[in-house]
Every structure is written in structure tokens, then in C-alpha cells.
Symmetry: C2
Subunit: 133 residues, 2 copies
């Protein structure tokens, strides 16, 4: 049976509060300030558990370690090719619905049963666009 732990609560709450998308190590370093005994394996273990439970999203990046997202509203991601930042793009319900419909239609081609999707847009973020001039 699933047991409460101070560590898991800390990890989940922290992830829900921050709007960046930290790596496991970043999160570990930050939380170690509040809880010095914290071990990195605990962070990895809880992040994996939380992902399976659907409380947290794991984001694969084009290079480097995975990042984690405590935002479970339907949304997609933008990854800046220059600075590596990942930004949430939150969608309206009708946009989500349309997108899901499209994807389901596409999946019919291969007779698969769809249960989720992962959309990442890549390019230059606002900040990096400015820097180029």
C-alpha cells in the first residue's frame, strides 16, 4: 500500500509551484536547502512514481536529462533550440478537443488505440529572438 512521505509531498508541491521545468538534479539541489538529508535517489524514485500516477509529466529534451512538469492541465510544450528553455503553452478546451480528434483520426491509419499524445514545438523563444538583433 502507498505510504505518505514528507519527501514526496515536498517534491510534488515544489513542482506544482515552479513554472520552470527542472531536471531531477536541479530539483534535488533546490530541495536540499529545505531538507538537507534528502537523497537524489529519492527524488528520482518519487518523480518516476508521480509520473506513473499522472501527477507529474516527464519531458524528454533534445539533449540532456529529462525535465519534469507539475502542470497537469492539458497543454503542450515549446523548447527553445538556443537556450534550451521549455515553456508551457496552455490550450483552451476546444483546442485540445480538436487536436485530440485530429490525432485520433491520424492513428486510424495504423489501427492503433490512442491514449495520449506528446506535442513539442521547437524554435526560438522570445528572449533568444531579441538577442539575435
Amino acid at each position: 500500500m502507498k505510504k505518505y512521505s514528507k519527501q514526496r509531498e515536498l517534491i510534488l508541491n515544489s513542482l506544482r509551484k515552479r513554472k520552470d521545468h527542472p531536471t531531477a538534479e536541479r530539483l534535488y539541489l533546490d530541495l536540499k536547502n529545505e531538507m538537507p538529508e534528502l537523497g537524489i535517489a529519492t527524488v528520482y524514485r518519487n518523480l518516476s512514481d508521480l509520473c506513473e500516477e499522472g501527477q507529474v509529466i516527464r519531458i524528454k529534451t533534445s539533449s540532456g536529462p529529462d525535465r519534469f512538469d507539475g502542470n497537469t492541465m492539458p497543454h503542450i510544450h515549446f523548447e527553445c533550440k538556443k537556450c534550451g528553455d521549455i515553456v508551457d503553452i496552455v490550450l483552451f478546451e476546444n483546442e485540445v478537443k480538436q487536436l485530440d480528434n485530429d490525432l485520433k483520426k491520424f492513428a486510424k491509419q495504423i489501427s492503433a488505440e490512442v491514449d495520449g499524445s506528446d506535442i513539442t514545438i521547437t524554435g526560438l523563444c522570445k528572449k533568444c529572438k531579441k538577442k539575435l538583433r
Copy 2:
């Protein structure tokens, strides 16, 4: 200046021919039959180069090593959560255009400049759907 190499040609051609999405190691093992001197570092190096040139696509999987795709036609991927297989879903030009438009519209929210996207649908593939019954 970029130099020709037998190894890179072999890797690219092989990737274009196969319709699965091999890992670097799978590709290495397969190609080692044709070219026993081949080293795995060469495979990794060339795959990375080819990805940067846009001749090959790197697919991040939900767990396990990256996979590579020699198909550069506009398409999206389906990843089966059961068997891990990755299948191409090729889109019609108008579908691509509509999807791109939608994504660009979404990206306006964060004032980013879009230059690509990565869409993966997850679920159960045809084969695994059958096995469940």
C-alpha cells in the same frame, strides 16, 4: 569541409531503407555484419551529425535509448506503450499544413518563432490490441 566516408553512407542508406526505428546499437550490430571494422562510436557520431543536417530524425522514447528515423517526409510517430514499437504516421500535405498552422497559432501565445515540431501519439498498437483479447 565535410568529407565522404564509407561508414556514413552505409549508416544513412541503411536507415533510409529500414522502416523500423532502430537504436544506435541495433544499427551498429546489424551493420557490423556488412562492415566488421565498424565501431559503435562512429555510429553515434554519424547519427548525431546526420540529425544536425536534418537527414535523420532522433526519436526520444519514453524509456530506453534514442531511436533513429531515416524518413524525412513530414510525419508523426506512434509509440506503443506495451511493446515499445514506434510506427510512422505519414500525413497528407493538407493535414501537415493545418497542423503547422495550429501549432504556429499556439506559439503566438509565447511570442516564439517556430521552426519545427515533434508529435508523438501513444497508446496500443494494432498487434498489442489483438493480444489483449
